[in-house]
Every structure is written in C-alpha cells, then in structure tokens.
C-alpha cells in the first residue's frame, strides 16, 4: 500500500532533516561528554577567530563557541520540547472535550480560547515573565499554556470530524461514557494528523524561546541557549566577526530540518476527504 511505501522511503529532504536533527539531539543528550570545554569556562580571548584550539572561535567573554553551541542544544531543544509537550497535553485534552462533551462546553471553551488568542503572544509572554520572573519552570509553563490555545483549535477541528462518524455513534448508542469516547474512539484517530502539527509547533516554540532569550527574558545566563548567544554576541557583527552567526545557523538548521520532516509526514497523512492534515 502507498502508505507503507512512504513510511519506508522518506524523500531526500526528510532524510537530511532527520540526520541534522539527530546530530543536535545527540549534542543535547551527550553534551558534557563531547564538548571540548565547559559551558561557562571563560578561557580564551574575546571573539577569537576559529583555530585548532577553538574550532568556532570564542564568544564575547572568551568561552569556546563550539562547546556553547553543543550545550546550547540541551537548553534550547529541551525547553522547546517541554513547552510543546505541555501545550499538546492541554490543547488536545481541551480540544477533544470541546468536540465530544456537547455544545455548551464547546462554546465556553472556544470563546475563552478566542479571547486568549486575541492577545498578541509576545506581549502576553513578556507580561507574565516580567511579573513572575524568568525561571525555567515559569518559562515552560507560560509558553506551554500560550501555545495550547493554538493546539486546541486544531485538535478540536480534527476531533469534530471524527465525532460525527458512525463508529462514534455506535459507541454512544452502546451507552459509553465521555472518557471512553474521547480516549478510545476519537483520540487514536486524531493523533496521526497531530503528529505533523507537533513538529510545526515545536519549531514555533523553539523560535519563540530563542526570541525571548534574545530579548533577555528567556533562558537566563550562565546556561547556554542559542537565542541568548545571538544576543550576547550581537555586537560582534559590527566588527565583521561572525560570532553570532554560529548560534543563528544552529537555530535555522533546526527549524528547517524539523520542517522538512514535517512536510514528509504531512504528505503521508493527507486526509482522503481532500483536506490535508495541516489546517
């Protein structure tokens, strides 16, 4: 069947994406073992050029750029993944509930989400982070909840298409309760299109975290994270030193690789009704 073929034969772009992503995940997991220097070791001259000693040069206070990039993978990827997992947990639960539990609850949830979505996400995040501080915990919760509103919309529209099928009606006719219908009938059918969305939301959250760090409200020093590194090394560009480009390239590569993988997944999951899995 065509679907099995696609699963075994990802296109070149998806393969490249997977390789790059795996490399970064490897960095994230094994950072302490593979980085040549420590995360916060200030041992070289400021903004030294790439050399045998420091493969990508040094940053604004003399730390090895390559090591910071490797350690940065942990924070940046890790926080983005945590945010996306949280937003999906909340978003899918609320979305399925809205689709399954009746019109009244649907209206309440949907209108609340509309309200939340009308506030620009950056402003909202900045507000909360400046009120409650930028600890990792607050950061993950904030972005997780803010993103969950967007996930809610998608999960709900996917679930609504499933809820009107005959097999869900069969379950209702049997007398099944809300929990069963949501988790055993609707969810297994809603997940495949959501997988692609996970990749897309991950990219968004990832960029958002990097952006917040760039503004100084995201991940705090001395933790390495790519957004913060762009900020710290920003001034070097004025002197023709490519230091901020390295973390920026890392951000770009990650986003592109995830997107290429998501494109491939979306092409497998095209709905027979003609609507693609992406809304």
């Amino acid at each position: 069947m065509a679907i099995q073929n696609s699963l075994k034969n990802p296109p070149i772009s998806a393969k490249i994406g997977m390789v790059i992503l795996v490399v970064f995940i490897f960095f994230a997991i094994f950072a302490p073992l593979i980085a040549p220097y420590g995360e916060a070791e200030s041992i070289g001259k400021t903004w030294a050029s790439p050399s045998a000693e420091f493969l990508l040069g040094t940053d604004n206070i003399g730390r090895d750029m390559l090591s910071r990039i490797i350690f940065g993978a942990r924070m940046t990827l890790g926080v983005a993944t945590a945010c996306t997992l949280l937003s999906f947990l909340i978003g899918i639960t609320m979305g399925l509930l809205a689709a399954v539990a009746g019109k009244a609850l649907d209206q309440i949830l949907s209108r609340f989400v509309d309200l939340m979505l009308s506030i620009p996400i950056l402003v909202f995040a900045l507000m909360i982070l400046s009120m409650f501080g930028s600890s990792l915990f607050t950061l993950i919760i904030t972005i997780g909840i803010l993103d969950s509103f967007r996930v809610f919309r998608l999960a709900r529209s996917i679930a609504i298409n499933i809820v009107v099928t005959e097999f869900v009606e069969v379950a209702r006719l049997r007398g099944e309760g809300l929990w069963w219908i949501m988790v055993r009938e609707v969810l297994p059918n809603a997940l495949p299109p959501m997988i692609a969305e996970f990749g897309l939301r991950f990219c968004f959250n990832f960029l958002f975290v990097a952006g917040l760090s760039f503004l100084g409200l995201g991940i705090q020093p001395p933790f390495a994270d790519w957004g913060g590194m762009v900020r710290e090394n920003g001034r070097a560009i004025a002197f023709g030193i490519p230091a901020p480009l390295w973390p920026a390239i890392a951000i770009g590569l990650t986003t592109i690789s995830v997107n290429m993988i998501v494109d491939w997944i979306l092409s497998i999951n095209a709905r027979p009704s003609g609507a693609s899995a992406e809304m």
């Binding site: 069947m1 065509a2 073929n5 099928t165 005959e166 097999f167 009606e169 069969v170 209702r172 006719l173 049997r174 007398g175 099944e176 009938e185 297994p188 059918n189």
Partner: protein, 534 residues
C-alpha cells in the same frame, strides 16, 4: 464499414504499489452504440472508463496498451492535445452529481463552461441551448433552473443536469459511470429514459458502467463482464441475458433473476410482540419528518420498512434507538416504555436493540482490531474477564463466517462484505432481541449482499432474533421480510404481511415502487414508459 470511434487495445493499468487493476482490456465502440461495462467493485469498470479519456485516478498509472479516439492515439498527445479531446470528443458523467458540481457556481455557469471553452458555442448560444435541454429533460422551470446552485436541486435533477453538461460540447463519446446508482428507483427510471433519448438523438457512442445487470440490459447493445480487472465475456445484451457462456456471468444473471422471484415467507401466528411503536411523530426543527407512524415487530420476525429518500425510514430507526427524540407517540419494548432520548435509557435497554449501518467502512473504528471491536460490547455489557471475552469473540467470528485469525487484525484492510460481518458480530455480542438493519446491503456488491442476507436469516433461525430492516430495495424485502411497511414522505401508506402488500389491490405508491424495479428483460424500460404514458 465504419471505424470504431473508441478503440482500446491491451490496456493495462497498475496502482503505484504495483497491483494490477486492469489487465489486457480490449474494446471497440461504434458511433451510436452503447457498450455496458458490468462487474463488481474493484472489477476495474470505472478505471477503464476513465482510461478511455487517458486519465488515471491518483494512485494509478496506465502502464500498457493504447486508447484510440477516432483513429488518434490520445496517450501520445501532449497535455494540451488531450485537453482538446476531453469534453469536446469524449465526456464523462460521474456517479455522484453532487460531488461533481462545484457548489460555489450556478448550474448554468457549469453547463456552459465546456462549449464556451472549446469554442463550440458562444456564451449566449450555450445558455439558450442549455435552457432547451432543461426543457427536453423535463427539469422544472427550465428558464430559471440554471440560476440555481447545485445544493438547491434534487439528486435526480442534478444527475440530469450533469448529463446535459456532458453533451454540451457535442462529444462523440460519453462515459456514463454508474449514473443512476445513487438515485431512488422511481427517479432512476426517469433518468434512464432520458439518457437513452439523449444517446439516440445525438448519435452518441456510450460506455455505460454499472453493477446492476437489469439496468444495463435496458440501455446497452453489447455488454462486457469484468472481474478483477480482466474481461470475462463480451457479447450482445441478448446473449448475455439468455445464454451466458462463462460461469461467472451465469452466476450474475441467475442471482439477479432470483431477486425478481417473489417467495412468500410464512411466520407462525401469535408471536409475542417485542416492539410496539404507536403514533410516532418526529420533527427536525420545524420540519415534520414522521407523521403518525405505527409499527410492531414480533419475536423472530423480520419487518421491512420500505421507502425512498426523504420517506422518513432512517428517521424512524433513529427514533426507535433514541438518537432522535420523538415529538409524540409511545414506544414500548418488551413491555417497557423507552424514553425518547438516548441518555435516559438504561444500559440494558440499549443493549437489547442493536443497529447495523449501511456503510460498514465508517461503522468500524479504523484504529481498533476486530477483537477489540467485537469484544467491547461483551466487556461493557456483561463484564467478562479477558479470557472469556476472547473465547466469546472467537465463537462470534465463527458464527458470522470469519476466520479466527482475524481477531487481531485491523478492519481497514478487509472487504465490504467482511466488514459487514464484523458489524453483525458486534451486534450479536450484545445478545440483543432486536437488530435494526439500516440498508445493510446497499453498499455491497450483489453476490456479497446475497451472502450477508443468508447470514442474517441463518442467525434469525438460530437465535430467534427479530429484525427491522430499512431498505429501498424491494428484492430484499421479498426475500426476507415477513411483514412490510411502506413509507412515503413521513407517512405510513401500507402495512401488513409482505405477501399482501405486494399483491393487488395496491396502494398507488406501492404500485409505482414495484414497477420501478428494473427487470432482467431488454424491453422492460419501453414497456414501463408506455404504461406510464397511459
């Protein structure tokens, strides 16, 4: 000696995964002649029909053979060349008119699109021609019909509009892909007559694709029988009907003939009444969909509810199970009143009445295995252990004639008939008293439908089940129903023993229904039209 207008030689079509969909198809069609393509689902009839336009659906590829229209091998043409042919020399009438019309454009815009695009007529000429055609095909208000949108007209009207759209650029060949399958029997006759008229008046060569032998017998000069992509037999219509050579063709002809024969089924009198629906009225919003309908079902009995689209038969089923709340009337089941709404009924009430759907594909959760599907009612209603559930599931699989190793398979890969058996097993798992079958075999091929009906009867004999069968197919009614009720626009027009309903004196609507079922004779359509004209 005229040359064939359409010639297909050694056509081979494969799916992208490598399965062969059509193997070595050969046909040649003379101008003004009709070739019927008949076969079951998956036989390759639509695939061949589309290949005649050098078109393959997504997931398929034409890998061999050639298609010649009026001597030109159209596959060798460029995309522009093919576009010149499509619509202008060869046109296509799809099965579902509703899916083929763009809901955002008026009917007139769409009917005029082809002649204007191919330069056959100017827009004004095309509109005038269209209005004439609307009149000829007896569409209501021909002058203003074109201004309507597709959703504003009925199925039969839209199908006629699609036929008009197909011939609007004066094609030489038209491929009719199951054009009347989705219509009611009474509408089907009208559309068949008009299609035949069009073919005659415009000297069109037609490929008529259908799975119904009686329908194709009315309209085709030759019939090609297809099975799994291969041609089984190609003969004149008369030869196919009266002296089929191949065993498969014989099977198809005999099976169709049996549905014409009426067998009276007698049921022992004085059976306990299990379902009593009295004076049921139901509304969808302000629209009254059921008007004072009363029906009873006794133990071990099959009651058929017959009607066309809009008759209210599905609504009646929904009222009985509680999906739709009745506005008034009483519903008693096994002596107890059933409340109007589903949520107020007890689990046991819900257990005893089971529903089987028309389309088994959507009635089964594609992410569940067969074992999970059948096992759930057992666990839910009877709270058995996992081992007991598995044992009972295997018993049920055997009872419906499915192999035991299906228990761990997902249902999606199975055929329509097998899926319907799973639905039946699922219904049986609840140990019900009454099973409501909503068009249980309409979505299945003839031979497969036969087996499902036999299975249902066997189960009724073994388990003393009662059935309420909703259908528009009088063949099914005659074969399995003890009593029948006929619905017309929400009202009960006839009710009683099947034998009595289908013997004169008839209610006028019953008579119309009976006459509309195509019979396996070539002259049937002419006879019916002549009768109607009186």
């Amino acid at each position: 000696m005229t040359t064939p207008i359409l010639k297909i030689q050694n056509l081979r079509i494969e799916s992208l995964a490598g399965d062969v969909l059509v193997d070595n198809a050969n046909l040649s069609l003379m101008p003004g002649k009709v070739l019927g393509l008949i076969g079951e689902s998956g036989a390759g009839k639509s695939t061949i029909g589309l290949a005649a336009m050098s078109y393959a659906r997504g997931g398929c590829k034409i890998t061999g053979g050639q298609v010649e229209i009026d001597g030109v091998v159209i596959q060798e043409l460029s995309a522009e060349g093919r576009a010149q042919f499509r619509g202008r020399r060869i046109a296509y009438v799809a099965q579902s008119a509703a899916a083929s019309f763009n809901p955002a454009h008026t009917i007139m815009d769409q009917v005029c699109e082809m002649p204007v695009h191919h330069g056959v007529r100017s827009r004004i000429e095309a509109e005038a021609w269209a209005v004439e055609m609307f009149r000829t095909l007896e569409l209501p208000d021909p002058e203003s019909f074109g201004a309507r949108y597709p959703h504003q007209v009925s199925g039969g009207q839209l199908q006629r509009a699609m036929a008009i759209m197909a011939i609007s650029a004066d094609p030489d060949i038209v491929v009719f892909d199951e054009p009347t399958t989705a219509l009611d029997v009474t509408t089907q006759i009208e559309v068949l007559v008009l299609i035949k008229k069009l073919i005659r008046d415009y000297n069109i060569a037609a490929l008529y694709i259908t799975h119904d032998l009686a329908v194709v017998a009315q309209i085709a000069d030759h019939i090609m029988v297809l099975r799994q992509g291969k041609m089984v037999e190609l003969e004149t219509t008369g030869n196919i009907l009266h002296s089929p050579k191949q065993p498969y063709t014989k099977e198809l002809v005999e099976d169709r003939q049996t549905s014409d024969v009426f067998r009276e089924i007698i049921l022992k009198a004085d059976r306990e009444v299990i379902l009593d629906a009295a004076h049921i009225t139901a509304h969808y919003g302000d629209f009254e969909v059921l008007k004072d309908v009363s029906i009873t079902v006794a133990k071990g009995e099959t009651v058929a509810i017959v009607g066309e689209s809009g008759s209210g038969k599905t609504s009646l089923a929904r009222v009985i199970v509680g999906l739709t709340e009745r506005s008034s009337g009483d519903l008693t089941f096994l002596g107890q009143t059933l409340s109007p709404a589903l949520k107020h009924r007890s689990r046991d009430d819900l257990r005893k009445v089971q529903l089987i759907y028309q389309q088994p594909d959507v009635a089964l959760n594609p992410r569940h295995t067969v074992g999970e599907i059948i096992g759930r009612p057992i666990k839910f209603y009877f709270n058995r252990t996992a081992d007991e559930v598995r044992e009972r599931t295997l018993e049920l699989l055997e009872q419906v004639g499915l192999p035991a190793d299906y228990i761990d398979r997902k249902s999606i890969a199975l055929s329509g008939g097998q899926k319907q058996r799973i639905c039946i097993a699922r219904a049986l798992a609840a140990e019900p008293t009454l099973i409501i079958c909503d068009e249980p075999t309409s979505a299945l091929d003839q031979l497969v439908a036969d087996e499902i009906l036999k299975l249902l009867q066997k189960l009724q004999d073994e388990l003393s089940l009662s059935y309420l069968v909703i259908t528009h197919d009088l063949g099914i009614v005659r074969r399995i129903a003890h009593r029948t009720a006929v619905l017309l626009r929400g009202e009960l027009v006839a009710s009683g023993a099947t034998g009595d309903i289908f013997k004169p004196p008839f209610h006028p609507y019953t008579e119309k229904l009976l006459q509309s079922v195509p019979e396996l004779r070539e002259s049937w359509l002419e006879e019916i039209t002549a009768k109607r004209a009186d």
